[in-house]
Amino acid sequence: MRMISKILPVLCIGILSGMVSCKKDSFTPITTPPVGLGGDDWKQDSIDVFIHDSLTVPYNVAVYYKWLPGQLDFPTDITPPDAAKVMPVLKALLNVAYAPYNIQTGSNTFLRHYLPKALELAGSAEYLPNGAIFLGQAEGGTAMLLYQVNYYSRLKADSNAFKQMMHTMHHEFGHILNQNVAYPVSFKTISTGYTGNWYNISDADARQLGFITSYAQAAPDEDFVEMVSSMLTGGPNGPTGGYDEYEALLSQTGGPNSTGYQTIKAKEAVVVDYFQRVWGINFYSLRATCRNAFVHYLQ
């Protein structure tokens, strides 16, 4: 009896599986592809053609500008871009943010390799419960998200908004570069006092503490890319109250002998060294090219 009771369960399974499969009908092959396979499609218009020709082909970048549920943070009140703003924003990115890298590296190979393969656009900002807002995000070297597309203007009078957008792009691209090759660990020890409450500190106060913007005080990663973007495009709340050049921002540190000034200068040295050593890019000439592109793009 013992033998039987041990064998029986095995038998059961054998019989069961045999019976279940025995009646199976012939398999119907699927003739309709699953809905949405390969992404949504829609009637292509001039925006889609422009994206294909100017970003997808040369840079291997897909641009998402139509609202895609779940692509951005959910459940969050974010609005999609105004279609009329999409091409102007992309043209500005190409001319002011991307072109300087091409000029410095001699071709679009560098950006084609390192630009994240997805560029996602949102019309509004993303509002956080703490009162701060997201202007951009970089995700693991694969996606870059640019908010506030609807606020775009290339008029000189609106240069603050324009510079903020370019600042955001250089900030996020800085993250992407770091996510590929990390910056030296020594950078993280230049400053102490990183805090999650950065948004309670004014930019001017942060500069006294050796941070180029208050957001730089959030974490070393942010500090590094805020240095990159502030040197390339200037930073917010400078001496004039708006976006000012890097040198002008330094005047808010308390002067060349202050700790704030020297701390920021030490960070500058690491950034310049990182770009030269890792990417073979002379950061100061990249900066000159960026500024030139800026000045000529504003109307």
Binding site: I4, S5, L8, P9, C12, I15, L16, M19, V20, C22, K23, K24, D25, T28, I30, T32, P33, P34, V35, G36, D40, W42, K43, Y65, K66, W67, L68, P69, D73, F74, P75, T76, D77, I78, T79, P80, P81, D82, A83, G123, S124, A125, E126, Y127, L128, P129, G131, N150, N200, S202
Partner: protein, 459 residues
Amino acid sequence: MKRISLYILVVVMMAGAGCQKKDSDTIGGLTPDQRIAKALAAYQSKLMGAPYGWIFLESTTGIAYNQGVSQSGPAITLAYFVQFVDSNTVVMFSDFDTSMSVAKSSSYRIKELTRPALIFDTYSYLHVPCDPDPAISKSPFGAGYGWGTDFEFSFSDSTVPTEAGDTVHLLGNLNSAGGVLIKATQAQRDAYYSGSLRNNASAMLNILEYFKRLTVNGVVYELRPNADRTMTVTWTSGGQTQSITTSYYITATGIVFTTPIVAGGVTLSSIDNLVWNSGTQTITATVGGQSATIKGATAPFANDANAPSRWWHYANDNGGYWASFNGWHVNGVDDAFGVTQITDAGGPFYQFAYIPNLLGPQNGNPNADAFVPLVVQNNALALGNYFSVPATPPAFAGGRAFFTELGTIGTIPPGGPVDKSDQVLYNPAGFYLVQTGTKTYDMVLASTARTWISWFSPF
């Protein structure tokens, strides 16, 4: 043996189940993907199958979500005209703002989500009330929240689209706003394109007086459109003053009350065909088929005589203050004196405030109120560098409040926004106070009723 028979039983049962298996991969011979594709195509042709477009009514729940955090506010209804002209293009009109009474094109698509969904996927009139930037949406829910409207909807009818008839129901995916698409007639469509929405939406703006009186069949009603997209209707019945506040929306036909107002045996469900006549400074309209007029008035229909004292005491007794984001509204212009543009008062302008008993022995002053711009300094609110000091309390007489100047703090630039604002406050005609909510009052200049300021209590 018992155990063996149990095994046999199980084997027989399962074998029986296994052998009865039928091919159930399809319903009506269609795989799930085929059924999804078919449903999407059916919804697409439903939307495009309305030759004269749709009237789209969107009603919010009074709750708006952002980052999973909700805020409560007014529940509103907005009216759109939408026409789905091809598979991805929609043309619309909206009653959200008078600037939206011209046709504007944007994109949409129908997509499979948990349910088939209608997504307005680039910015349109529909997105403005959703915009998280309060400077754009003018939302009272706060930064990060629109009015609780949606631009991504699920089709919520339980019937298949071909059987849905002339009405299609939608449910917003973020804020659960309810939507109803009602097939429009050619007359409705033509009315939108011929500017009727603009006429109906802007007619009342021509009346510069705060108090607006509707006369139908000899009966007078006071109409007060509120900032939260509701309308307060006041009338007298049997010697008693009564009032009802309801949300409303505007179509090419007229102004429609979301809940019809039953006033002394008469039901007001809408005010139709509003036409402004600049010669007589009167709006002609029809109400329930009868001709009606709307005119401005310089005094309230039934003044709330205790309101001035109640207003002052609420802030004074709670140690709070009254605040206004826009300062004085004069002759149809919000922020007529440009107080929001003040830059020389110590920081960016935030609010204009009336603060009872700001001055007193505690700061070495005689007791006095303050009529003062508040500015942002170092991420905090601060008093502006210069402001006027009214005597405390104001005089309350004849159902009005009267203010007298006791002095000033700092040097008020002559002819500047603050100076101009002060001159209005000390107008000897005094002010009516109209309570518009539990913590909101409008203060209306009694001489012309064309100048007022909207106060809210931040506490």
